[in-house]
């Protein structure tokens, strides 16, 4: 479903244009119906990999595809829902208008948009704020509106970058429930998170990336043998790579 093969990406950093490697030969596959947790310290390259998947940036080397279509193909995003980290939307639009935009650009009919909007805003608990402009929303509310936007067209693949960020425990539970519901419906979910307990709860497999290199990919049940927690596994991999390097 999601295929990343040998992807590398460098960025220019600073006024002397020093090249910094954000991703180094990343290869990864996520089959249909799997919930994949993408973990790593800050600046490890998680968001870079995700942005390549939604074509916001382009890989220097390697290939990425979703549903066997290259990620540069605009049409593939009809089947992909993306929630950016710390999303920011148009200040003067309402949640309803935001979802209308999401629906229209993915080819939904007006009736389908209305039905999906009602359903999703109820799910993310924004029914009463649906006609309010987004600039009046709290951070958590914007995050929830973003999640609704990413799912308005009922995508086959959901790519969620830190979906729990900025949410209170109720919000986190709500997002968790949505992920579990998507999983039950056979959707493929690729998400990054710092909250390891959430990852343990939802994911079938996890990948740990440190300093642009994928250090480990395995099924969660293989990793959590005995008393080992995901936190232990994570810290061990980061230590092996020489600590949480900033890039």
């Amino acid at each position: 479903m999601i295929k990343i093969e040998g992807i590398s990406k460098e960025f220019n950093e600073g006024i002397r244009a020093k090249r910094v490697k954000a991703l180094d030969d990343l290869t990864l596959q996520v089959p249909k119906g799997e919930v994949f947790g993408f973990l790593g310290p800050n600046g490890a390259g998680k968001s870079t990999a995700i942005k390549i998947l939604v074509n916001l940036i382009r890989a220097d080397q390697g290939e990425a595809s979703i549903m066997d279509r290259d990620v540069n193909d605009t049409g593939v995003r009809k089947h992909v829902g993306y929630l950016p980290e710390n999303p920011y939307f148009y200040d003067y639009l309402t949640a309803e208008e935001l979802l209308w935009f999401g629906g229209k650009t993915t080819g939904l009919s007006s009736l389908a948009i209305k039905q999906r909007t009602d359903e999703l805003l109820r799910q993310v608990n924004l029914q009463s704020a649906r006609k309010r402009q987004l600039r009046t929303y709290s951070k958590g509310m914007v995050q929830r509106a973003g999640l609704a936007l990413s799912l308005i067209h009922d995508p086959d693949v959901a790519i969620l970058d830190e979906p729990m960020s900025g949410l209170d425990p109720l919000g986190r539970k709500m997002v968790g429930d949505i992920i579990l519901e998507l999983k039950a419906r056979g959707k493929t979910i690729f998400f990054s998170s710092h909250i390891l307990t959430d990852v343990e709860r939802f994911c079938d497999r996890v990948g740990i990336i440190v300093a642009g290199k994928l250090r480990l990919v395995d099924r969660l049940d293989n990793l959590l043998i005995g008393n080992a927690s995901l936190e232990d596994v994570f810290l061990q991999e980061v230590d092996k790579a020489g600590g949480a390097m900033e890039i």
């Binding site: 992909v80 993306y82 003067y92």
Partner: protein
């Protein structure tokens, strides 16, 4: 069009609800009210002064709209990363630019129509108060001047889009757009001057003449859209001048937006 329309509509909504727009509109309305007082101070040619002030107020507001609302609409997407939400849909970078520009053009047209109606109301009221000063007056010329002013703003916003496609901050886009506006307004005068310097008794080097000539063909000649004097004095304009001016404006706009789309196709959004 199914992709362009949603982008254009949210751009328009975001722009029309922007508080800066209300400030600009309020300024225009104050200028148009002041038109009564200022025109009344003149003891002669009240009609011409009233038309000139009304058209200038609309042009100034249009310029502020492009500089402070238009540029912001585009740059905010890049600064605040709102563009993530747009480009993660099945929308190409070129479609984003074209859709965004259409929304901006719609915003300019609607705002300029509203301001033009206010300007015409202000002229009409002064006309009723001082009918003898409006012997040589033509509504069609006023309407044409307002339409040309609108076209200038659309062209300028296309240029702003072109600059935004390769600059990294809204400030640079703003500066480049202002420079392009100033050059565009004065270029034909400067060209006439450097090509015939003997008229005013100055010397101009051949390189300067060449540079001005290159700039003349590179930057839009905005002075051809400025027909305030014709409107104020009810001077006629040939149909061919009107036709070619409109074609020039539309072609330049299309080229600038196409250029912006081509450059934007290569951009990344880390």
């Amino acid at each position: 069009m199914t992709t362009l329309w949603p982008i254009a509509l949210i751009t328009f909504k975001e722009g029309i609800r922007n508080r800066a727009l209300y400030g600009i509109t309020l300024l225009a309305l104050l200028l148009l009210i002041a038109n009564f007082l200022i025109s009344g101070l003149f003891m002669q040619e009240i009609g011409k002064v009233a038309v000139d002030i009304a058209l200038s107020a609309v042009s100034l507001s249009g310029l502020l709209l492009v500089l402070f609302v238009g540029i912001n609409l585009m740059e905010k997407d890049l600064d605040k990363k709102t563009i993530y939400m747009v480009l993660s849909r099945p929308i190409s970078r070129s479609q984003y630019i074209v859709g965004k520009f259409l929304g901006m053009a719609l915003l300019i047209i609607i705002t300029m129509v509203f301001l033009s109606m206010c300007a015409m109301l202000s002229i009409q009221l002064i006309k009723m108060a001082y009918p003898t000063y409006f012997q040589r007056f033509s509504w069609p010329m006023v309407l044409l001047a307002l339409s040309f002013s609108t076209l200038t703003m659309i062209l300028l916003s296309a240029l702003a889009f072109l600059f935004a496609s390769f600059t990294s901050t809204s400030f640079i886009t703003l500066v480049l757009t202002v420079i392009a506006y100033i050059i565009g307004q004065s270029l034909s005068d400067v060209k006439a001057l450097v090509e015939a310097p003997q008229v005013v008794g100055i010397q101009v080097s051949a390189i300067t003449v060449k540079l001005v000539q290159i700039a003349y063909y590179l930057f839009p000649n905005l002075s051809i859209f400025d027909i305030k004097t014709h409107a104020a004095h009810a001077l006629p304009l040939s149909l061919s001048y009107i036709f070619w001016t409109v074609i020039y404006g539309l072609v330049y706009t299309a080229l600038a937006v196409t250029g912006a789309a081509v450059i934007f196709r290569r951009r990344e959004f880390p």
